[in-house]
Each structure stands twice: as C-alpha cells, then as structure tokens.
Symmetry: C2
Subunit: 323 residues, 2 copies
C-alpha cells in the first residue's frame, strides 16, 4: 500500500523515482488503485499556468526524438525543467515504438533538469488522452514547466494531443514523396509550428523548396488565426534548433498575452470532464457482466442490420439506469 501523502511530498521535492512510480500508479488502471489515484490527483490538480505543454507530432522516421532532445536542451539552457512524455496508440502492437529506449535521447536523459517517460510497455485501449492529462499534472507538480509530448501520426493520437497541449509542433521532412500525407483528419488546423527537419547535406535544396511549398499551402488553408510558421531544422547538425526553441517560446508568450492560452486550457478542462464521464460510464458498463453482454449482443445486431442503432441504444440506457 502506497502512502500517497509521502509520495506527493517526494514528487514535490523532485524525486524522479517517486514521479515515475506515481505515473505507473496512474497507468495501472487497477480498480483497487482507484482511491489512491484520486487522492494523488486531488493533491496535484492545480493547473500550472507557467508551464508550456507542447505536442510534437509527425510521421515515423522524421527525427522527432532527436529534435525533442535538441529542443529540450535549449529549454533547459534557458532555465526550464523539461519532461518528455509519449502517446503511442501503436504500442500495443509494436511493443513501444517511440521513446521505448531512453538511449535515443542520451544527452537529455543524463540531464538533471529532464525527466523522460517512455510510453507504457503494456498496451491499453482507450483512455490514452485521460491518462496523459493526469501524467502532465504530475510532472507539473514535480516542477517541470516544459512538457513535450511526442506522438506518431497514426490513429486518433494527433487530434487527441492537440486537446491536451498549448502548442502543436509538426515535424516533416522533404522528399517523403507526398508531402503532408502524414497529416490526418483534423490535425492540420491545430498545428502552430512546422519543422522541416533533416535540413542538412544534400537535403538542403529540397528542404528549402518544400518549406516554401508548405508556407503557401498553410497560408491558403489557414483558419481565422495566423498561419502556422515553418522553420528549417537539422537535429543532426543542430542548425535551426535554437531558432525553433525561440519561436516556440515567442508563440507561447503571445498566446499568454491575449488570454487565448487560458481559455484553451479552460476548454480542455471542460472536455476532460465530459471525456471522464464517458470513460467512467464505459468502464462501469464493461465491468458489469450483465451490461457488457447486453452491449456486445446489441452491437452484433446493429452490424447484422437487425436492429436500429437508436433502439439498441435505448435498450442499453434503460438497462444502465434501470427503467
């Protein structure tokens, strides 16, 4: 039995092992950890408004990890404490394809001002966003004020990640054939900065021309806000990484100045409530054998077109609420 108050004190004192243990507790999702988990969240819950939550997304192989390391070291030089988390919906299949190995961020992981959390090794379905929200709060309670969240461009992860973060950085490379192909539904308008990475050696000419194309497209496609900025970086040589870190800090300041930062966070809190209600209801339905069986049977009938989805939903809701 973990003593939550002691754990929290250790987290506040900067004990990284305690933080890692607390995150494991959050991730466990075991129902007997429920009370502890809630207690821990209550202790951590105040939103830290001096933090910046940055999503780093992009297709596999574009160099996200190396770029995150460069960015992280830049933030630390500037006096920040950096936490790196991962949302990896594919980890169930690949055994943890991102951040699976801290050695990919050797310099950052050795730094005292950095905390790197590999993606959970055992897979879980759903609840990714919710769990990450809680992990962010834990890291902030531990004093980390630059939270970098890496996600690969698959499934729902990209749109979820923009609902958890203040800014979204998209990492791309030239010569990937069809340019923005990796960008899935709904993510495009959520991007604040694009890094055209691997801008080194023989890639430089192609990178510059790709960046120009991107700028035009993003301008054409921008919503009511400003178009995303496009920067050239090389995580390998370090060129452009400092400028990228500066751009991110500048964007963060300007968001905080005009209240959009706070209102985005408030929206995210509201969404968290709605998501958590759905998640908890779902969990309760799944853990009740009678309701779970009914739901499975109804879904089967919907798929074979024997039942109208609305009528099926009504049966389930009546069974849940008893009427």
């Amino acid at each position: 039995m973990t003593n939550i108050d002691e754990l929290f004190v250790a987290i506040r004192e900067g004990d990284r092992a305690a933080l890692a243990r607390a995150i494991t507790l959050i991730e466990s999702r075991r129902s007997d950890d429920h009370a502890m988990r809630l207690e821990l969240l209550e202790l951590c819950h105040t939103d830290s408004t001096d933090s910046l939550r940055l999503a780093v997304t992009g297709a596999p192989g574009v160099g996200k990890s190396t770029l995150i390391e460069g960015l992280g070291l830049n933030f630390i030089e500037n006096g920040a404490k950096v936490a790196v988390l991962a949302i990896d919906p594919s980890s169930t299949r690949t055994g943890g394809s991102i951040l699976g190995d801290k050695t990919r961020m050797t310099n950052l992981s050795k730094n005292e001002s950095a905390f790197i959390r590999p993606s959970p090794s055992s897979g879980f379905l759903g609840g990714v966003a919710e769990m990450t929200r809680e992990t962010i709060l834990l890291c902030e309670a531990a004093g980390y004020n630059r939270i970098l969240i890496e996600t690969v461009g698959v499934g729902q992860s990209e749109s979820s990640v923009s609902q958890l973060t203040d800014l979204v950085l998209y990492v791309a490379i030239s010569g990937a054939g069809d340019s923005l192909q990796g960008i899935k539904r709904g993510i495009l308008e959520t991007i604040h900065v694009v890094a055209v990475n691997k801008n080194d050696g023989s890639n430089e000419r192609a990178s510059a021309s790709f960046a120009a194309d991107l700028r035009n497209s993003l301008k054409l496609l921008k919503g009511s806000g400003p178009a995303a900025e496009v920067l050239l970086t090389s995580a390998l040589t370090g060129n452009g990484v400092h400028e990228l870190a500066q751009t991110i800090e500048r964007l963060c300041h300007s968001l905080k100045d005009d209240d959009s930062f706070q209102s985005r966070r408030l929206d995210q809190r509201r969404l968290w409530f709605d998501d958590a209600v759905n998640y908890l209801l779902e969990q309760r339905i799944s853990s009740d054998p009678r309701l779970f069986e009914l739901k499975t049977a109804l879904k089967g009938k919907i798929e074979s077109e024997g039942t109208n989805p609305y009528a099926a939903a009504l049966s389930l809701v009546n069974a849940i609420l008893g009427s």
Copy 2:
C-alpha cells in the same frame, strides 16, 4: 394520437404531407412522443443501399441552394427522387438561415420527384446529427434515393455531416480573399468534390486560377485516398452543373464497387449507437433535477478550478449509477 402504422403506409405511398408530419414527430423530441418515434424508426430502419447521401457544405453566400436545385433537377432527369434536408446549427440564432424559404428552390420544389425540408424553425441544442440520421431514413423509406444535406460552414456541422453521408461536396467561390478559410477543422480530408461556383461573367478567369490552386493544395494535402476533384460550376448559367452531377454519380458507383461505401455506412451505424447512448444518457441526466443540479454545480467548480475534472466526473457517474 397519431397512428404510426397508417402514417408509415402513407409515407411508403409517397404522401409528402405524411412524410413532413413524420419528420416533425422526429424533431419534436417530446418525451410523450418517444414510443411513437421508436415505432416509426423500427418500421423505416433498413438502410437503403441504392440511395446516395450527399453533403453539400460551404460558407454562406457561395450559392449552395441554387447549386442544389441544379443538381437535384439533374438527378431527377436521370430517374432519381430527390430529398433536400438541412443541418443548421445557427437556426436558433437566425431563425433559420438556410432553406428557410422554399422559394429559393422554385423549380425543384415544384417538381413531383422532389421533397424539400426546411431546417427546423425552433432551435434545439445537440442531437442535430441524430435527428438528421432519422430524417434520412424516413426519406429513404418514402422512396427518395438522392438525399442532399445542406449545411453551412459553422461549428460542428461540417464534421457531423460527413458522418451522416456517403459523399461530401464543398462549394467555394474565387475572390473570397483567403480561399479555403471557410473550411474548419477536420472537414478538409472528408471532402470528395469541390465545386468552384459562380464561374460566370467576369469571374471566369479568377475561378479557373483558384481551381488550379485548389487542385495543387488538395493534392499536397491528400491522405491515403485520392485527392478531391475540383470542378467549375455556375449555378446561374447552369454551366458545369451537369458535369458535377455526373462526377458525383461516378464517384458513388466507384465507392459501391469496392465495398468502401458499405463499410462507411456500417461505421456510421456503429457511431450512431455510441452517439445515441451518450445522447440518451445526457437526456436522462438533464431530465432528472437532482442529477442536472449536480452536473451544473460540478461544471461550475471545474471552471473556477476548485475541482479536478476527473474527480468531478467520478461524483457524477456515482450519482448516475448509484454507488
């Protein structure tokens, strides 16, 4: 008290007044109409796979209504029966800004093979998508096989509409300044066809150049599927409208040939079930004074940051399920 069996027979016989009455019943949302509504849905519910559900979206003023009229008449010439519906989330504020007036589609509304349903005059929050799903089924039961759903590019309507339809047509005009600005989050990748409308008179040169820009951007931004097709139309002169109707029919055939049509419909049925469960739970919470008060109080506490959203959700779920 309406006799649902009689109403259904009248709908099947093509009685347009009966269809209009049935849609009103669906829209009423009065709890004492609940049983009737369910009965009606049960009668109508089989998915009509020879129908095409087409979303027509775009900013206000681009000529959606006139283009819909032209498309509808083309489909009818081809032997189809055409229903035109509207999703208008702004109708609560404007008193029905789209399809509010059938006189905007004079020729189509006089045609015996067409049914035009203005957007509901009284506003309602939420449930837009669900209600439209049911209305589509009613129209299909009445023999309409080209269902055109008009929506303006505001709020959630665009992403909802792609979850209700087989194909999405986006209507744009050149010279709107910033091009695709009207396209909101998540809609871009859901578009199958773009009509650059008002391609007439002095607009022709600008329209052609705008269409070329769009083609490039859409190609650059395409996902794994084919890029959206871009056509030039003038609802005023009728130029290009026949070609647009043909393109839509061709796309519909090719979707049906490779099973993606059916699998999209099946996904939509699954989503309908999930949405309906959430909607019905929400309705039951709202109609229970104790739960409604609790939820309002919890939301207030979340906004003032006094409560962690997860803890608030847990209180609500415990109150709902009693634990």
